[in-house]
Symmetry: C2
Subunit: 219 residues, 2 copies
Amino acid sequence: MKINVVENVLKANDAVAAANRRMLSDRRLLAVNLMSAPGSGKTTLLEKTIPALGEEYPCGVMVGDLQTTRDAERLGPYAVTTTQINTGTGCHLSATQVAEALPAFDLDRLAFLFIENVGNMVCPAQFDLGEHVKAILLSIPEGDDKVAKYPTLFQQADVVLLTKVDLLGILDYDLNRVRDDLARINTRAPFIQLSSKTGQGFDQWLAWLKQQRLEHTRA
Amino acid sequence: MKINVVENVLKANDAVAAANRRMLSDRRLLAVNLMSAPGSGKTTLLEKTIPALGEEYPCGVMVGDLQTTRDAERLGPYAVTTTQINTGTGCHLSATQVAEALPAFDLDRLAFLFIENVGNMVCPAQFDLGEHVKAILLSIPEGDDKVAKYPTLFQQADVVLLTKVDLLGILDYDLNRVRDDLARINTRAPFIQLSSKTGQGFDQWLAWLKQQRLEHTRA
C-alpha cells in the first residue's frame, strides 16, 4: 500500500509537470530547475545571471525554502517577478506548487523562469516540476566526492555547474576525480566551472542558457 | 490515507529507535547522530575526533550514503568497527537500518557510536535513530543564512558545530547573524566553532561528548 501511494503521488506530479511545461514552451519561456546542496551558491548565481542576461531576456524566479523569504528578497531587485514558496517541512518543490505560483507571473513577457529548488541533493531529483532543463550545482567546499555519493541527482543533470572555483587554490580539491565520476554516470551534461565572484565561466553558462531556450521552446 | 501511512511509518520508526537507545544506554555507549548538508565536514570531523578520544574511548561508526563506501573507507582506520549503510535513493537513515547494523558491533567494548546521517538538512531531522544526542554541523562556506532556512533541523540540535572556521577570514560570514537566528529557535544547544584543519574548538567538543556520555548512559 505504501508503494502505491508513493507511485500515485509521483504520477499526479508528472501530469501537472507536463502541463506546466507545455504552457511555458508555448510562450518561448525556458524553465530551469536549479538543484544542489544548501549553500552551493544557487541564489548568488542568479544574482549574477539575471543582470548578465540583460533586458533582452527578462527573467522570473521561484524560490523554494522551508522557511524565510530571504532568497526572494535577494533576487527581487533583479527579476521581473519573484515568488518565494515556503515548503514548511517539505524537502523539495512539486509540480503543483509551481502550477499554483505561475499565475503571479506575466509569462508572455519572460524569456527565462528560474526555479531554485530546496537545498537538498536527494529528494528534489525525484520530482519533475515542468522545467525544460535541470542545472545541478556543486561547490568546491563541498568536496570532490559528491557526484559519486549522490548519483541520482547528477544522472539527471542537463548541465553541471561547479561553483566557487575561485576557492580551487585554497582548498584541496581533485577536479579529475569529479570529471571521472561524472563520466561514469552522465556523458550528456556539459561541465562548467563557475565563479560568481570573479565571473569565470559565465560566458559559457549564458550561451548554454540561450541555446537551450532555442531548442526547447517554440518560436 | 497518505497521512496515515506516513504517521504509521514514523510510529514504527520511533518504537525501534527507543529499543536501540535502551540497548546502547545499558552498555554505557553514547550514540551521536551527526546531521548536516553534504560536504559540511562530518567525515573529516570524525577522522579527527576518534583518534583524539583515544584508547580510553573506543568508537564505532555507522555511515549513511546513497551510494559508495568512501566514507567508511576513510573512517575504517580509526574506528573499532565501521559500517556503511547505502540507502539507494533514501534521503535519511531510519531506526530500522541502525537496528540491522548494530549486530556487527561489539557494543560492550565501545564508548561512543557515531552515526553519520545522509547529507541532507531536511529529511533526517524527522527520524529518531535511537541516538542520545543530535550534533548538527554547519560549515562556513554554506553561508550564514542556513539556521533560519532549515529551522526544523536546528531546533532539534543538542549541539551546533560551526565547521571550517579556518575559512572565516577568507569568506564573507556574519557570525552574529547565525547566533541571533539560533537564539530564536534553540537556546539549549551549545554553539562550538570548530576547525578540523587547525584543531580549534576540539577541546570543547571532546569535553561535551564525554559529559553527554555521563549524563545519558548508565554506570
